[in-house]
């Protein structure tokens, strides 16, 4: 009996060390962080942290949730984060932070790994935080603007990023853990969504503005929103957005196609030491807008629009690949990763010179566009 009791007690005592990281923290002992911006100040060699926190004193049922900005700095990220407490009653609580804005200065200096590392290691932070690059001078500037529909800017920015890919295809959403993986992946470079400030009704407002292109952990340039769409076609990660094309052979734009579904197949062939990559894009679209009256029941007309769209996609995708090859020389399309997955031995040979190979890579883009839906109207 005594033995049994001792056994049970020993088993029960296990629950104390096994329970992990925890402690009772009341809701009135925390300052909820909604989003955070991180910059690096070269002169003082310090990280500057701009946290958008929920302002409990201003928020109530009538006004909704209000936020305020807390700025702090430190030699390391953790020090900067913790030193915010010097201005606050309660410690910052990161469990519900939804957005991480990284200043372009910090990204250009290759300090992004440090940021990602702290956010991955800290037990409170979510691995699913959305990460964006600020194209403004500092990351804080984005957070300090007022949201158009949400009083908490971080939430507004997060919603912009979340919905963008299926509506305008001008950025590609990336979360913290994906960055962690991308930074360690072989044969693929990272892109992050970039946002900038623009004028809207005489006030500054944040806007999705393409992608920031990285080489390893250095920011080396940007893709415009239009180029981003082509990039998304190339990597097969487009599931919405508008495709403006021409209904005739002339070089003008008078038809809007809405992308409903798109599949991309990428393959490569290795012959005589030369790699050729082939990208096949198969897109379903619906025809939404025609400038002048067109007989949409005419199959020839539809086929013509389809072929025009195909040509345009092929051209734009090829262009963006060319630009990236020549200007940035960073394999953001993941061609290297594709080779690595299919033929690891070949990749081992290629990897040391991949930067050079990528620049001269032959890429053949073929596109197929199917109009599956026409909003056909006719006046009688």
């Amino acid at each position: 009996m005594v033995k049994k009791v001792v056994c049970v007690l020993l088993c029960l005592s296990m629950i104390f060390p096994l329970s992990g990281c925890w402690s009772y923290i009341g809701l009135n002992e925390i300052t909820i962080v909604a989003g955070v911006g991180i910059d690096y100040d070269k002169a003082s060699e310090e990280y500057m942290i701009t946290s958008e926190v929920i302002d409990i004193s201003k928020s109530n049922k009538q006004t909704g949730i209000k936020s305020s900005i807390v700025e702090s700095s430190g030699k390391t990220i953790f020090e900067a984060v913790r030193s915010a407490k010097r201005k606050l009653i309660n410690k910052l609580y990161w469990g519900n932070a939804q957005l991480l804005v990284i200043g372009n200065g910090l990204a250009q200096q290759g300090k992004i790994s440090a940021v990602i590392d702290w956010f991955m290691s800290d037990e409170e932070c979510r691995e699913t935080v959305d990460v964006i690059i600020s194209q403004e001078k500092t990351a804080g500037e984005l957070l300090k603007t007022e949201g158009l529909t949400d009083s908490v800017t971080s939430y507004e920015l997060r919603e912009i990023i979340n919905d963008d890919q299926s509506n305008t295809a001008s950025i590609r959403k990336v979360t913290l853990y994906q960055i962690f993986n991308l930074l360690r992946a072989r044969g693929v470079s990272m892109v992050l969504p970039a946002l900038h400030l623009t004028k809207n009704a005489d006030k500054p407002a944040a806007e999705a503005n393409g992608l920031a292109v990285f080489k390893k952990d250095n920011l080396i340039g940007y893709l415009s929103p239009n180029d981003t769409k082509s990039y998304l076609f190339a990597v097969g990660d487009i599931n919405g957005g508008i495709l403006p094309v021409s209904s005739t052979d002339e070089n003008k734009t008078d038809v809007s196609l809405e992308i409903t579904k798109s599949k991309t197949k990428t393959s490569y062939s290795y012959q005589e030491g030369k790699i050729t990559v082939e990208i096949k894009i198969d897109t379903d679209v619906s025809l939404d807008e025609v400038e002048k009256e067109t007989d949409l029941l005419d199959e020839k007309k539809i086929t013509e629009i389809e072929s025009n769209a195909q040509k345009r996609i092929e051209k734009q995708v090829s262009d963006v690949i060319k630009t990236v090859q020549t200007e940035y020389d960073s394999d953001i399309f993941g061609f290297g990763s594709m080779i690595y997955k299919k033929d690891p031995k070949l990749w081992d040979q290629l990897e040391p010179q991949w930067d050079k190979i990528f620049q001269t890579l032959q890429v053949k883009v073929t596109s197929k566009v199917n109009i599956i839906n026409t909003a056909f109207l006719r006046a009688h």
């Binding site: 629950i15 925890w22 009772y24 009341g26 928020s59 519900n96």
Partner: protein
Amino acid sequence: MFHFFSKHKEEIVNQQVAKLNAPVQDNALSCSLDENVKILKDLLIDVDVLLIRPIQNNHNSSLKYCIAYCDGVVDSAIINDSIIKPLMLSEAAVQGKDQIDVLINSVLLINDVKKTKKIKDIIEAITYGDTILFAEGSNEAVILSTKEVRTRAVTEPENEKILSGPREGFNESLIQNLSIIRRRVRSNELKMKYRTLGRITQTRVCICYIDKIVNKNILNELFRRLDTIDIDGVLDTNYITELIKDSKLSPFRTTGYTEKPDVVVGKILEGRIAVFLDGTPVVLTLPYLFIENFQSGEDYYLSYYYTSFSRFLRIIGFFLTVCTPGFYIAIVAYHKEMLPTSLLTNITIDRTSVPLPAAVEAYLMLFIFDVLRETGIRMPTGVGQALSIVGALVIGQAAVDAKLVASPMIIVVATTGITSLLVPKMNAPIIYARLLLLTAATTFGLFGLILALSFLLIHILTLYSFGVPQVSASGNLQFQEIKDTFIRAPWWDMITRAGATVRDKVRMKSGDGGNHG
């Protein structure tokens, strides 16, 4: 010193118990009428309701009788017309050895008549409302049934109100309760066996079952346990419940209870045994499975679509009422990241100006809720309105306005309270389980909550009712066995009776459930 005193005390108690236990002196009756009356008077000394009336036969003055009964429990009209009148006027009565038989056979107009020589039988009978007849020159007495059963009317039980279905309820008379059952089951398979419980009260217990269906092992086990009961009195079936319970310390019920005859008949048709007790309308049914906590007699009278949903609600309700406070505390204090941000913000806004930590708040509000519930049960009906005003306005509205309690906590407590009413049969275990889970969640967060919940589930799994596991964890689950658990299958589909509780599983002989299609 202490030891000495306690031992001394124990001795005194033992002596008293021995005195109480001493059997009624079974000295035989004598042939003398006066002597017999004296014996009876001695035994029932200080029982002033005892009435003794001497009678003499009109035709033969040497025929002397004496009847004795307790005032108030007998039907005077019967005594006058069927006992005194024939004894006085009869010409058939004779003297001598067989005079008692002659009286029984041709004089007394009483349906239930017994001869006895035992004083113990006489005492039992007279206190129960029977009349005792002594005759001069006979050492036997006659027990004449003259009981007058005064009972409450058959009404609908207060705490088992139903929408549709039979509304009859038991009352405090054993005989009447049994008659209600008898009327519903007109078969010789329905057995009713008497036992007597309570050394002083001598209360009658009736064990009722269907012979063909009942599991004999369980029946024997019940009789064995009933025989072990040694108590001075039983006033309600709950005495028996606690005395014969399988796991005596568990707050969970291992016997069912009802005040409705239709429920009892339903149960005994499923192989259960019903235990009736004189003086209480509450009837025990056993063995009791855990799922019966979620069943209600009405389930079988309403559409099975409706009652299947009710079952689902009750089971969800059980988990909600047990887990909600603990879950809320665990989330709010340990796992804030699990809340959507807007919800977290709203709760935080509500909580900022509240002085107490959420956990203390939870204990306090649950305590207040239980106080309100308890007063609600006991109070006179007139005070009801005042109580609901105090409960709803003062504690709900005013406490939130005064920032003493955060409004999410009111919602949590209200959810807990309302859902607890879904499973009224588990009111006791629910309170303790809820506190256990809340404490675990307060100290260890969700980890503790899950741990305590596992502990609770393991405990439920180890419960037995008369040797039958309350929750069947057998691997070879038969579909037929679960047709009346989480859902209530339609009657035409419940072809067999379920479970280890029954011997004969055939409910429908044809097996197609009368499906004339």
